[in-house]
C-alpha cells in the first residue's frame, strides 16, 4: 500500500458498495477474505496513513474493576457517553460467592461495586446488579443474553473478552484508557493484527474437551505464540464443538498471546442465539441470520500463520508450572529443566518447579491436591456443570481435599443446574455449591488459596499468586477437576 502517493480513507459497509477505496485494499477485499478480514473491514471508520484505523465498537461489556477510572475520566473531561445502549454492565470480580444476602463485607470491594452501580445509574447504563438472577461473569452473561452477536465488535476491560469470538465476532480485551475511549467515542484506535489459523481436525477422544484443545495449542505455540495475531480456530473438531466448548477455546486465545480468538458462524451458533433476550426477533432475525451465514473465511483466504493439530492425538491436559504453556498430558511427567537447552526457558522452569513444590519427572497422576475450583469465564457454563457432575455423581470428595467448590458462571446457569438436580449431586459428593462470580480464578474476593496449597482449577491462569499468594494452580478441564477431587490426585478421565 506504500506504493500509493497518498493514503485515502476507505470505508466498507457490509452487503453494500465500497464507498471510498484505496486501490490495493480494494483488491484485497475482492479476493478471498478471512473471517478476521470481514470483521475488521466492516468496522473501519477511517484509516491513517500508517495503517492505524478508527474501529467502531458495537458492544461494550463493563465490570467493576476496570471501569471506575474510565467513568471518572469522562466526568473530569466533561464528556458524554456516546451510546449507552451499547453497554452491558455487571459486577463479577469482587462479589462474594456465599452469604450474598449480607452484602460485601470488604469495604474496599464494596465501594468498587457501589461505584459501578452509581456510575451506571448516572449514565443510564443497563446493569445486572449482584442479586439479579442474570448477574454472573461478564463473559458468561454476554452470550447467555444474546448481547454478543455474530459480526459484532465486542470489547471489555478484561483480557478474556476473546471468549466472544466464538460467535464469529471480533472480540478483545482493552485497558481502562480504552474503556474510556470507547465510552466517549464508540471507537478504538488500532492497527490490524496478523491472522493465524489453528486447524484441529478429527474427533476428540473420550474425556477430552475444548479446554484440552486450548491447553494443547498453548503448549504447542507458547504463551507468546499468538502475540500480534488474531486466531481463527477451524476444521472438523472445532465444528463439532458446542457453543460452550467454542467459548472455552476462544477464551484461552489470550493465554496463547492472541488478543482475539474467533470461530466461523454456523448452525450451532445460530441455534444457540435464537430466542435469547438481546437477540433480534422476527423479520430482523431472518435478516441477521442471512448476514451471519457469510461470517466465515472464504476458500483460499490467506493466513500469516497456520497451526495444525490432530484431535485424536490430544490427551487430557494438566499444567505443571506457572505459565499456561507449562503443560503436559495427564499420563505424562513433570519435565526436567536440565533437559532444556534455552537458558531463559530452563531458569523459568526451575523457578516454576520451586514455586510449585514439584520435582522433575514426577508422574502427573501422583500429584496430590488440596483444593478444587470448578468455575471461571473459561469453564462455568451449563455444559461444564453437567460434565463435572457426571464425574462426581454417586462418589465423594477425597479426605485430603480440604475444599472442592463449584461456582456457576451466572445466576441463570445456577438456576438451570438446579433444575437439573446438579447441585444435589455436587453437594452429596462433598462439593460446595456457590453463587456466581469470578471467585477463585483470580481470588479478588474471599475465595483464595493459602500459601502452599495446591489446586486443580478449571480457570485460565496458573501464574504465581494468581489464586492467592503462594497458591499452586494446575489448570484442567471440569471433568479432570472433578475426577481429581474424588481421587485426591490427578487421574486420567479417559480411563474412568
Amino acid at each position: 500500500m506504500c506504493s500509493l502517493p497518498h493514503a485515502k480513507t476507505y470505508t466498507l459497509w457490509h452487503n453494500r458498495d465500497l464507498l471510498k477505496t484505496e486501490t490495493v485494499q480494494a483488491k484485497q477485499l475482492m479476493s478471498a477474505q478471512t473471517l478476521y478480514d470481514k470483521l475488521w473491514n466492516s468496522h473501519v471508520v477511517r484509516q491513517e496513513a500508517d495503517g492505524t484505523a478508527l474501529i467502531y465498537i458495537d458492544r461494550h461489556l463493563v465490570h467493576e474493576v476496570t471501569s471506575p477510572q474510565a467513568f471518572e475520566g469522562l466526568k473530569l473531561a466533561g464528556r458524554k457517553l456516546w451510546r449507552s445502549a451499547s453497554i452491558l454492565a455487571v459486577a463479577d470480580h469482587n462479589v462474594p460467592t456465599k452469604g450474598r444476602a449480607q452484602g460485601i463485607a470488604d469495604p474496599i470491594a464494596r465501594l468498587q461495586v457501589e461505584t459501578l452501580d452509581s456510575n451506571c445509574a448516572e449514565y443510564g447504563v443497563n446493569e445486572f446488579k449482584m442479586n439479579d438472577v442474570r448477574q454472573g461473569i461478564v463473559h458468561v452473561i454476554g452470550p447467555e443474553q444474546g448481547a454478543t452477536l455474530p459480526g459484532m465488535t465486542v470489547v471489555c476491560g478484561d483480557s478474556h473478552t476473546s471468549t466472544h469470538g466464538a460467535f464469529a465476532a471480533l472480540a478483545f480485551g482493552i485497558g481502562t484508557s480504552e474503556v474510556e475511549h470507547v465510552m466517549a467515542t464508540q471507537c478504538l484506535l488500532m492497527k490490524k493484527s496478523k491472522a493465524m489459523q489453528v486447524l484441529v481436525d478429527g474427533a476428540l477422544g473420550k474425556g477430552v474437551t475444548a479446554k484440552d484443545i486450548a491447553l494443547a495449542v498453548i503448549g504447542k505455540i507458547g504463551t507468546a505464540g499468538g502475540t500480534g495475531y488474531a486466531i481463527e480456530f477451524a476444521d472438523s473438531a472445532i465444528r463439532a464443538l458446542s457453543m460452550e466448548g467454542r467459548m472455552t477455546l476462544c477464551n484461552m486465545a489470550i493465554e496463547a498471546g492472541a488478543r482475539a480468538g474467533m470461530i466461523a458462524a454456523d448452525d450451532t451458533t445460530i441455534d444457540y442465539l435464537k430466542g435469547r433476550p438481546f437477540a433480534p426477533q422476527g423479520e430482523l432475525w431472518d435478516k441477521a441470520v442471512a448476514y451471519w451465514r457469510t461470517l466465515h473465511s472464504d476458500d483460499g483466504a490467506q493466513f500469516d500463520a497456520t497451526i495444525k493439530l490432530d484431535a485424536a492425538q490430544i490427551r487430557p491436559q494438566v499444567t505443571w508450572g506457572t505459565s499456561p504453556e507449562m503443560v503436559v498430558a495427564v499420563d505424562g511427567r513433570v519435565p526436567d529443566p536440565a533437559t532444556m537447552i534455552d537458558p531463559v526457558k530452563r531458569e523459568g522452569a526451575e523457578r516454576a518447579l520451586h514455586y510449585m513444590g514439584l520435582k522433575a519427572n514426577t508422574p502427573i497422576t501422583e500429584i496430590k491436591i488440596d483444593k478444587v475450583f470448578i468455575g471461571s469465564c473459561t469453564n462455568a457454563r451449563i455444559e461444564d456443570m453437567r460434565a463435572a457432575a457426571a464425574v462426581a455423581k454417586g462418589k465423594h470428595v477425597a479426605p485430603n481435599v480440604k475444599l472442592a467448590m463449584v461456582v456457576p458462571g451466572s445466576g441463570l446457569v445456577k438456576q438451570q443446574a438446579e433444575q437439573e438436580g446438579l447441585d444435589k449431586i455436587f453437594v452429596a459428593a462433598g462439593f460446595e455449591w456457590r453463587d456466581p462470580g469470578c471467585s477463585m480464578c483470580l481470588a479478588m474476593n474471599d475465595d483464595r488459596l493459602a500459601p502452599g496449597e495446591r489446586c486443580a482449577a478449571t480457570s485460565n491462569r496458573n501464574f504465581e499468586g494468581r489464586q492467592g499468594q503462594g497458591g499452586r494452580t494446575h489448570l484442567v478441564s471440569p471433568e479432570m477437576a472433578a475426577a481429581a477431587a474424588i481421587a485426591g490426585h490427578f487421574v486420567d478421565v479417559s480411563k474412568i
Binding site: W13, H14, N15, H43, V45, D50, T52, L54, Y56, D58, V65, T66, P68, Q69, E72, R79, W82, N94, I108, L111, Q112, L149, G157, D158, S159, I174, G175, T176, S177, E178, E180, H181, A184, T185, Q186, L189, M190, K191, T223, A224, T227, G228, I254, G257, A258, R259, P280, L284, A288, Y291, S323, V344, G348, L442, M444, R461, F463, E464, G465, Q469
Partner: protein, 210 residues
C-alpha cells in the same frame, strides 16, 4: 499524559521471561477506584516478604532483599530491562499505572504482550522491543556496571549505551507522535465526530438488529 522525548535514566534488570500483570500488580490492589498510588505495590509479592493489602503502610513492611527492586544500586531507576513476553495475562491498566507511578518511563524487552504494550502508550510509558541478543548484551552490561544508564531518544528511535553503542528501535508513527506530544487519544478521535456518526448511521441501516 506525560510527554516522552529524551530520557537519560538508570537501568534496572528484571531477569525473568513471561512476567505477567498479576505479578506487576497483584489483584488485591485492583479494588482501588483511583488511577494513582500503585507504585509502592508494584511487584508486591516479589518485593516484600509479608503479604500486602490495600491501605497498609508499605514503609513498615519487610522488603525482600533478594529482589532487584530493593537493591540500593538500582534505586531511582527509570528504565526496566526484562525478558520475553513482558506484561502477559490480564488487561489491567493498573500494571502500567504501577510501573509509571514507581518511576519507570521506559521498558526494554525482546517482546511484550499486546494489551500491555498498548496500555503503556496511554500512560507516557515507552515499551521498546529489542532483539533477544541485544537485550542479553544489555543484561550483561548492567550487571557488570554499577550506575549503568541508557539514553533513549524517541525522536531518533535510538538507545545509546555508555560505551557509545547505539541500538535503533521501531515504533509506530502514530503512537510516537502521541507520546512525543503527550496527546490525549480521545481528543484526537473526537475530531472525527462527523465520520463516526456517518459510519454509525450506515452501519445501523445495514444491520438494523444492532
Amino acid at each position: 499524559m506525560q510527554k516522552f522525548t529524551v530520557l537519560d535514566g538508570l537501568v534496572m534488570p528484571l531477569d525473568r521471561a513471561n512476567v505477567d500483570t498479576d505479578a506487576i500488580i497483584p489483584k488485591q490492589f485492583l479494588k482501588s477506584i483511583k488511577r494513582s498510588g500503585f507504585g509502592p505495590n508494584a511487584f508486591d509479592e516479589w518485593r516484600y516478604l509479608d503479604h500486602g493489602e490495600p491501605g497498609m503502610d508499605n514503609s513498615k513492611r519487610i522488603p525482600n532483599p533478594d529482589f532487584v527492586l530493593n537493591r540500593s544500586r538500582y534505586q531511582g531507576a527509570q528504565i526496566l530491562l526484562t525478558r520475553e513476553n513482558f506484561g502477559c495475562g490480564s488487561s489491567r491498566e493498573h500494571a502500567p499505572w504501577a510501573l509509571e507511578d514507581y518511576g519507570f518511563r521506559a521498558i526494554i524487552a525482546p517482546s511484550f504482550a499486546d494489551i500491555f504494550f498498548n496500555n503503556c502508550f496511554k500512560n507516557g510509558l515507552l515499551p521498546i522491543r529489542l532483539d533477544a541478543e541485544k537485550v542479553d548484551a544489555l543484561f550483561k552490561a548492567v550487571e557488570a556496571t554499577p550506575g549503568y544508564r541508557l539514553k533513549i531518544d524517541l525522536e531518533q528511535q535510538s538507545i545509546t549505551a555508555p560505551d557509545g553503542t547505539v541500538y535503533k528501535f521501531e515504533v509506530e508513527a502514530f503512537r510516537k507522535h502521541c507520546l512525543m506530544n503527550g496527546l490525549d487519544d480521545i481528543g484526537l478521535t473526537l475530531q472525527h465526530v462527523g465520520e463516526i456518526k456517518d459510519y454509525e448511521a450506515k452501519h445501523r441501516a445495514a444491520q438494523p438488529w444492532l
